[in-house]
């Protein structure tokens, strides 16, 4: 990870951290897959995705499938990916600063 460390208050909330971590590992994921992977409820996931979407960190696509079934596809934007990588870099930096001498910081 090469992003310059930068703490992001918006990403740092626990559920949003997990959402961003999951989305950073894939190209895109369907809403229900994300909900089951993270073991959160629909309203909780919707609420956090709305916050991330308003910040420009995720895209929400709703193509209509066969029979009119709408599935929501979620993906990190390049801005969101950069912000997440910078936030992770900052967390690693903070962990290393906080680690007592002779102990290994977490990966």
């Amino acid at each position: 990870m090469t992003a310059a460390p930068r703490f992001d208050e918006l990403i740092h909330a626990p559920n949003r951290l997990r959402i961003c971590a999951a989305l950073a590992a894939v190209t895109e994921a369907e809403f229900s897959v994300l909900r089951e992977s993270l073991e959160v409820t629909d309203p909780v996931l919707s609420k956090h995705l709305r916050v991330l979407h308003e910040a420009g960190y995720v895209t929400l696509a709703k193509p209509t499938g066969r029979g009119g079934r709408v599935r929501t596809w979620v993906a990190l934007t390049s801005t969101g990916r950069r912000a997440f990588e910078a936030h992770v870099a900052e967390l690693h930096r903070l962990t290393e600063v906080a680690a007592p001498a002779g102990t290994a910081p977490v990966r």
Partner: protein, 149 residues
């Protein structure tokens, strides 16, 4: 806005948890790999036995069939990963492509029908098994937080 303050170590644990959760969902259905295997096998058969006028339709079938399989797998799994996520998945992706090309080009170089059929069967098996191995490697690489180049 959510206000639960996380210390950096707990935050990294949350990240690992999120990544680990989605990594279990990665991979394609068995029929995706078998379907790709069939497409590569038919291309190897055409290269070795028919060639000529059949090469172009066979190649079109390979490309169009692959695109259709990708679209169907996307709908089936609800998740897509466009590229390998680490050294193991990169290696297996390269191995799968090389095996397919070796079978397609190799079958064009032999005269025996039996050997061409054996090469096509090998293409089917190798594409399917390497695809399954790729999925396993992708899950490991993702869970460990490996990233592509």
């Amino acid at each position: 806005m959510e206000s639960d303050a996380l210390d950096p170590r707990s935050a990294l644990d949350e990240i690992e948890s999120g990544r680990g959760g989605v990594s279990l969902r990665l991979g394609s259905p068995w029929w995706f790999h078998a379907g790709l295997g069939v497409l590569v096998a038919q291309q190897a058969l055409v290269s070795g036995l028919a060639g000529g006028n059949w090469s172009v339709p066979s190649f079109v079938a390979l490309v169009a069939g692959s695109a259709a399989l990708v679209a169907l797998a996307r709908q089936s799994t609800g998740v897509t990963v466009a590229r390998p996520r680490g050294p193991r998945s990169r290696g297996l992706m390269a191995a799968r492509i090389l095996a397919a090309l070796a079978c397609i080009w190799g079958s064009a170089l032999v005269d025996s029908t039996v050997i061409v059929v054996l090469i096509a069967a090998a293409a089917l098996g190798a594409t399917t098994l390497l695809g399954i191995a790729y999925d396993i490697a992708l899950r490991h690489d993702t869970a460990e937080g490996a990233v592509g180049p």
